[in-house]
Each structure stands twice: as structure tokens, then as C-alpha cells.
């Protein structure tokens, strides 16, 4: 597992934000134990990462990476579970899984590749597209306000909440590494420009900034998360907003061992 990138032909568009995220992940995982890492990806451009990385992986169905990852952690607590997911995956199709994995405090790391568009199906809006977004299924512009993923995650009780940017690889690598090391549900929202459908590189380059003060108290963290609401023109804070230690779902489960079925039958007489 020395080389974490497979020779598979890469079909991401030139200049795609996914490259930066993949690099950050590669750097972070190589500082952990790659053999004990399982990557779960969903459906969308980001999902191809399963084909590109020389890691254990489940290339899951659209929206289902988080429960698959939770199951893997329930099955084997020794594994580092990283769900590499999309915004459509997480905030649309699989939103109930996102809500409950945070509530459950599953010891998994969820990295959302948020390009704020369904890109692979050639441009439709997702939950984080801004109001008025014009696409193949919203020719007159969308009529809904976007969801603020960070504020949502904090309100759900996620125990590690961070935001990174595909254009800041070193910074993102630190977030991923901290997220993987955190015991509990780690949520990392990553702003990922889509160079073809929704090129946000210019505005993100201009407006994203690294927070000086991180690990904020919950109310402060929520306030900070609302600084930019995925619609307005405010500055965009990046970094680790919040972290809290809580018992994880998996550490509260018992050990697996053989069961004496014949004794149970005797009990049932």
C-alpha cells in the first residue's frame, strides 16, 4: 500500500476540485494506517475516488455511504472509516443518514465534497445551490434557499465540525487528519468548485479565510457557522468550528462471541 493512488484512468475534469481533496486525503491517510482505513464513497463525481485509491473501499449507492460506513465500524472497531461523500449524497438523498449518524455519534469521518451541484448528471441543483441557481432542471432558477450544512451539523450534535476548501490542500489535510483522529462523528464540509457547472474558485479564493480561533464553544460555533449562509456575499470561515468528546455508538456495543444456542433452547421449555 506504498502508493495510495492506483493507475486507473482518472476521468475528473481538468482543474476539478476533487484533485485537491484527493491529495489532502492521501496525505492524511498516509500518516494514519492505510491498511486499517476503509474509504466509502457515494455516487457523483467524488465517488470515483474509490476507483482511484489503493485503499479498502466500498463504492456505495447514492446517499448510502454513511450507513454502510457505520455498519463497517460496528462490524470492526479497529478500522478507520472515512466516508467520502457528495452534497447531493448527503444533504439530499441520504439526509436522514447524516442526521442520525451525527445523533448516534458513530465513530466515522464524513468528508462532504460540496460542489453545490449535481455535476455528474450534467448540472442540476442540490440542497446547497443558491436560490436562483439556473440548471437543466431549474431553467428559471431555483426557488429554495440553500441548507447551511455546518449549522445543521452543529444542531444535530455532531462532535467534530469543520470546513475546508479544495483550494487549500495543506489546511484541508490537517482537518481530515484531526477528523480521523477524533473519536466520534467527524463532519468535514469541503467547498469544492466544479469548474464546468459552478466554478466558485474565484469567489472562494477571495472570500475564504482560516479562522484564528478554533474549537469554539457551541453557541459561538453556531454563530460562526452562520457567518456565511451559502447565499450571501460574506467572508467564509474555514477550520475546526467545534469538537466535543462523547461516548461513540460503537464503543458502547458489546463484544462479539459465540452464543450457546442449545442452552437457550433448554431455557425455552
Amino acid at each position: 500500500m506504498d502508493n495510495l493512488i492506483l493507475p486507473t484512468k482518472n476521468t475528473w475534469c481538468p482543474g476539478c476540485g476533487n484533485f485537491g481533496i484527493q491529495n489532502a486525503l492521501k496525505e492524511a491517510v498516509s500518516e494514519m494506517d492505510p491498511g486499517k482505513t476503509v474509504l466509502i464513497s457515494g455516487i457523483g463525481c467524488h465517488g470515483k475516488i474509490s476507483d482511484y485509491m489503493n485503499l479498502n473501499s466500498v463504492y456505495a449507492l447514492h446517499g448510502r455511504s454513511i450507513p454502510v460506513g457505520t455498519g463497517i465500524k460496528i462490524g470492526n472497531r479497529e478500522l478507520n472509516v472515512v466516508c467520502m461523500v457528495g452534497d447531493g449524497d448527503t444533504y439530499d438523498e441520504g439526509v436522514s443518514h447524516f442526521v442520525h449518524a451525527a445523533k448516534r455519534n458513530s465513530d466515522i469521518t464524513v468528508i462532504v465534497n460540496d460542489n453545490r451541484v449535481f455535476a455528474l448528471t450534467v448540472n442540476q441543483p442540490t440542497s446547497t445551490s443558491p436560490r436562483g441557481y439556473v440548471s437543466t432542471t431549474s431553467p428559471k432558477g431555483t426557488t429554495e434557499d440553500p441548507l447551511n450544512p455546518l449549522d445543521t451539523a452543529l444542531s444535530l450534535g455532531a462532535t467534530f465540525v469543520a470546513r475546508g476548501y479544495a483550494g487549500k490542500q495543506e489546511h484541508l489535510k490537517r482537518l481530515i487528519l484531526e477528523g480521523m483522529r477524533h473519536r466520534g462523528f467527524s463532519f468535514i464540509e469541503v467547498l469544492q468548485p466544479c469548474v464546468v457547472w459552478f466554478n466558485t474558485f474565484p469567489e472562494y479564493n477571495e472570500r475564504c479565510y482560516e479562522m484564528e480561533e478554533e474549537y469554539l464553544p457551541i453557541e459561538k460555533a453556531r454563530e460562526k457557522a452562520r457567518e456565511w449562509d451559502y447565499a450571501n456575499d460574506n467572508q467564509i470561515p474555514l477550520g475546526i468550528f467545534y469538537k466535543e468528546e462523547k461516548p461513540t455508538n460503537e464503543e458502547q456495543l458489546g463484544d462479539i462471541h459465540q452464543v450457546d444456542v442449545l442452552a437457550m433452547m433448554e431455557e425455552s421449555k
Binding site: 486507473t8 449507492l61 450507513p67 457505520t70 455498519g71 463497517i72 460496528i74 421449555k269
Partner: protein
């Protein structure tokens, strides 16, 4: 052979189910064969719940009859609802506070009032112990020993145990003995619901995880497994998450079970396809209730056979089995898990409300063990989808890089759209199905009972009523257990020479008949019941007599 039928009923919350179980355990301890049919509505308090216990001195009758020999009533409603099932010689034991004497008058019925409140007051018990008072009075009336009921009460009531025993003792003292119950000489059997039997069979075959969402009538599999030390369980947010998590635990190497009913299964079908494509083993217990939609949620139906066979998008190989009693449920609970893991494909075990929730004596006709799977060398050269049919499986955490995917893929588990690679992978999975089809030869895929020119084909829980209803009839009974791959050859052999083939099912579409026809087997007639209630022995017998023109 002696058989009698007992109904104990009351409002939800009055403990008639517990009373039924205690009665069954009492007779079981005397060596009788017992069976409990549970009937309850979709509500928590009030309404009318009852347990009907079939007690046999020799071979068990695992079905309910129309005629009741003993009616034990915790409230007036119970008397009203079941009085017409009483005949000459039947006994009615009732709470003396039921004052509507008109309903208690019926010629030839022995009526025995039980002073339940008095018994409870004298024993300083609570109103929650009415069921204990009534079953204890019944036991005494039947000539049973107090020392037999005591350990049963101790096991069944882990709260207020002493008080329940005191109530029982008072009831024994206040009741007159009118019958004799003597030991049959046979050993008591483990009393299990189908749900519990499936879970135990799976445990015997190495079950390690259960991921489920509650849904009647399958919840019993899950709730039982949450009480078992040594396995991990989780109740996620919905059935989509359930099946996704189960695929996760299985990918990590844990033998996993999922239990649900039709509506929950509908949500799981997306990932059923994922199981087929990714070759991650999956066992789903699908317990049918009367549909469509919410249907009649606490009552029986057999309307999900075609759904189970055809669920999921895309062509896929799968195993589907439908046991008919608790011994079969135990065996196939383990076997279906083994098959899911040996063939790395989805495996569906079909139950129905009756088999899931009724209580049967486990005769121990089958043994089941954990079967070996084809494991791959966990090293750097590992390829997840290598081989001609069943690929050696490996689990993450070792040297091997283990890939699983819902995309069509190469032997390395990398997505492909190349026609040749797509075709090869489809054919690899087809060959797994062919190997499973070969294994049908050594499985008890079809069972035949009795001989005769008329063949009655049935599946699932109708078995108990059919065996009893046709006891004196010159008919052949044919029970397909494995539904996919369909044991076409075995079925044809079983039906050879039959002048007439009749399908008996609890659905309106004759789903097994349709499956048989798809496999080139003619069905001449159908007996279909779709009032959400199981067949009674007498009811089924009269329909069959008419059909067969006896």
C-alpha cells in the same frame, strides 16, 4: 389421541398473551404437544386480544380449530366474541365480575366463575395479576399440581414474582378440581415462535450482528437478538439505513441478519441489488402480513412471494426460502445465512405473521452448523472478484486491499463499462446461481406428505392446518420450501401422476400457482384465503372436501 383447544382472552394490557404462554408451558411440562395462535389488534390498550392454545396428547396440531373446548375470559368482551365457538361439553371459566349472565347461559356448557378480585385481594396482589389468577384456577381445575406452575411463574414474572406466586396459590386453594391431567411420558419441548427459531438457527450458524427497524410481525427476530450477549445490534433511522448498515457489517466480515415486513422490505430493495452486484452477503427475514400498503398490520397474508422473487433492480441471483413450521424456521434460519455467505448473494427468508408470532414446540428434527466460506489469501495480490463463479472473500484490516462496489467492475473491483468485461462479470454471477441450483439436489427443497391422486400444494404456515385437515383424506401434500432457485425438477417429481393439483394460499392472486406456471407446472384449482385470518382446521377441511368432491 386427545386434542383440545383453549382460548384465553382479554383487553390489551390484561396479559392474555402471558396467560396463554403459561398454560402452554403447563401442558408442555406434562409432556403434551402445544401450539399457541396469537391474535391481537394494532393498539396498545383496550381492544380484544386472545391466545388460542392447541393441546395434544400425542402428535401436535399446529393450527387453530373453530370449536373451543375451554374459554377463559378476563372480560365480558371475550365471552361475547367467542361464545359461539363453544359446544356441548365445553367449559367457560370467567371472571365472576362479568355480570351479564345472559351471555353465560348456553346449553351443555359447564360454566365456572372465578373470583379473581377476591383471589387478588386475599393475596395482596395487584390488578395486573388477573391473568395469573385465571390461569392458576384453570390449572387446578384441570387437575394440575401447584408445584408444576410455580417454576413457570418464576420464569415468566421477573417482577413481583412472589406476589404472583401467592395469587396463584390462593387461586389453587379456591378452585375445585374437575379434570385429570397426567404426564404423557414425553419430554417437554422448547417452545419457540418462528421469529425466535429463525434467530436461533442463524445464531447456530454463526450470526454476529442484527441490524433492524421494528415492524410487525418481524420485530420478534430483532427484539430477541437484542437480548443475546455476544452479538451486536443496531436500530437505525429507517430500512434503507438498516440494509446499508448490514452490508457494512458484512463487508467487515460479520454474519448479519435483518428482519422486516413488506413495507420495510420495499425500502430495502435498492440495496438488495447492491448486495447482488457487490457480492456482499445479505440475509433478510421478510415476515409477511396482510397488504397492500399498511394493510391489516397484525394479521396474516402471503402476498409477498412474487415481490421477494422479483425485488431489486437489474437481473440478479438470489436465494429465497419459505419454511412452514418452527423446526423448518430454525433450520432455514441457519441455512439461509450459510447460503448468503457461501454464495455471497442476497438470501431472503419468508415467514408470515402466523409462523413469526405463533408458538410451537421445537421437535429438534434438524441440525444446523456454521458452514465454511471460500476465503481468500489476505495478501497484497488479492483481487476481490477473481475466479469463475464464487470469488474467495477477504475482509478489510489485513494485507489485502478489499474493494466492493455497486458499479459493474473488473476482477480488481474497479468500475468498468467495457462490453466484454461487463458480460464476463454478469456470467460469473450467473454461474454462482447455477452452483446454487446444483446444491438444490442435496437440500430439502420440496417436501411431500402422504399419498393420493389429488395433490395439494401449499407453502409457509398453512402447513399445520393442512396436515390436520387432510388427516383422513386420500390426498398428497406437496410443500415447496425453496422458492428461488425454484426446484422445478423436484416439484415435477412430487406431482407425478397427480390427477389434480390444488394450490392453497393466503393471498388473492394465487402467487405460488403463478410461480409454478412460470416453471411449466399446471395448477388445476386454487384455495385462496384473504380475510387476513389463518385457515382453521374445520374451515379448510370443508373447502377441500368440496373441491375434491368427497
Amino acid at each position: 389421541m386427545e386434542n383440545f383447544q383453549i382460548i384465553v382472552g382479554g383487553a390489551a394490557g390484561e396479559g392474555s398473551k402471558k396467560a396463554g404462554l403459561i398454560i402452554a408451558k403447563m401442558f408442555n411440562s406434562y409432556g403434551y404437544r402445544v401450539f399457541i395462535h396469537e391474535d391481537y389488534h394494532s393498539l396498545v390498550r383496550g381492544g380484544h386480544n386472545f391466545s388460542q392454545i392447541s393441546v395434544s396428547s400425542d402428535i401436535g396440531i399446529e393450527a387453530k380449530k373453530d370449536r373451543i373446548d375451554f374459554l377463559l375470559a378476563l372480560n365480558e368482551d371475550t365471552v361475547m366474541k367467542h361464545k359461539d365457538k363453544l359446544g356441548v361439553g365445553s367449559v367457560l371459566m370467567y371472571d365472576v365480575s362479568i355480570t351479564n349472565t345472559e351471555v353465560l347461559q348456553k346449553d351443555g356448557i359447564e360454566t365456572i366463575p372465578v373470583p379473581i378480585d377476591e383471589i387478588i385481594n386475599e393475596s395482596e396482589g395487584s390488578s395486573l395479576m388477573k391473568n395469573t389468577a385465571l390461569v392458576s384456577s384453570f390449572s387446578k381445575m384441570m387437575g394440575m399440581e401447584f408445584e408444576k406452575i410455580k417454576p413457570i411463574l418464576e420464569k415468566e414474572f421477573n417482577r413481583e414474582t412472589e406476589k404472583n406466586i401467592k395469587v396463584s396459590e390462593t387461586a389453587f386453594n379456591k378452585t375445585e378440581k374437575r379434570r385429570e391431567t397426567i404426564e404423557t411420558g414425553k419430554d417437554p419441548l422448547p417452545l419457540l415462535s418462528g421469529n425466535k427459531a429463525v434467530a436461533m438457527g442463524a445464531l447456530k450458524a454463526g450470526l454476529e450482528c442484527c441490524i433492524s427497524y421494528p415492524m410487525t410481525p418481524a420485530t420478534g427476530v430483532f427484539s430477541f437478538l437484542t437480548t443475546v450477549e455476544g452479538i451486536r445490534t443496531c436500530q437505525p433511522e429507517n430500512e434503507i439505513s438498516v440494509v446499508s448498515m448490514a452490508l457494512g457489517t458484512a463487508y467487515a466480515g460479520r454474519r448479519t441478519i435483518v428482519s422486516t415486513s413488506g413495507g420495510g422490505f420495499a425500502l430495502m430493495t435498492e440495496s438488495l441489488s447492491f448486495s447482488a452486484q457487490s457480492e456482499i452477503p445479505l440475509l433478510i427475514v421478510l415476515s409477511q402480513r396482510m397488504g397492500p400498503a399498511t394493510g391489516v398490520p397484525t394479521y396474516v397474508g402471503q402476498g409477498d412471494l412474487l415481490f421477494a422473487l422479483n425485488s431489486g433492480h437489474g437481473d440478479m441471483e438470489r436465494f429465497v426460502v419459505a419454511p412452514g413450521d418452527v423446526d423448518e424456521a430454525y433450520y432455514w434460519g441457519g441455512k439461509a445465512l450459510n447460503i448468503a455467505w457461501r454464495y455471497q448473494m442476497p438470501s431472503i427468508l419468508l415467514l408470515d405473521k402466523e409462523l413469526s408470532e405463533n408458538t410451537y414446540g421445537l421437535e429438534g428434527r434438524y441440525q444446523i452448523e456454521k458452514e465454511d466460506i471460500v476465503e481468500g489469501l489476505n495478501d497484497t495480490g488479492y483481487k476481490r472478484y477473481e475466479g469463475n463463479d464464487i470469488s474467495p472473500i477477504a475482509f478489510p484490516g489485513g494485507e489485502a486491499v478489499v474493494k466492493a462496489t455497486g458499479y459493474e467492475h473488473t476482477k480488481d473491483g474497479i468500475s468498468t463499462e467495457t462490453p466484454q468485461e461487463v458480460k464476463e462479470m454478469v456470467e460469473k454471477r450467473i454461474r454462482k446461481g447455477e452452483r446454487l441450483r446444483e446444491e438444490l439436489e442435496v437440500l430439502e427443497a420440496v417436501k411431500v406428505y402422504k399419498e393420493g391422486p389429488v395433490a395439494i400444494v401449499f407453502w409457509g404456515s398453512t402447513k399445520g392446518a393442512l396436515l390436520e385437515a387432510t388427516k383422513d383424506m386420500n390426498v398428497r401434500l406437496v410443500q415447496p420450501l425453496v422458492m428461488q432457485p425454484f426446484p422445478e425438477k423436484r416439484m415435477k417429481e412430487a406431482l407425478e401422476g397427480a390427477e389434480k393439483v390444488i394450490c392453497v394460499e393466503m393471498n388473492s392472486g394465487g402467487q405460488l400457482a403463478q410461480v409454478m406456471r412460470m416453471n411449466g407446472i399446471e395448477v388445476d384449482d386454487k384455495v385462496l384465503k384473504y380475510d387476513a385470518r389463518p385457515f382453521t382446521v374445520e374451515g379448510l377441511r370443508s373447502i377441500l372436501e368440496e373441491k375434491i368432491n368427497i
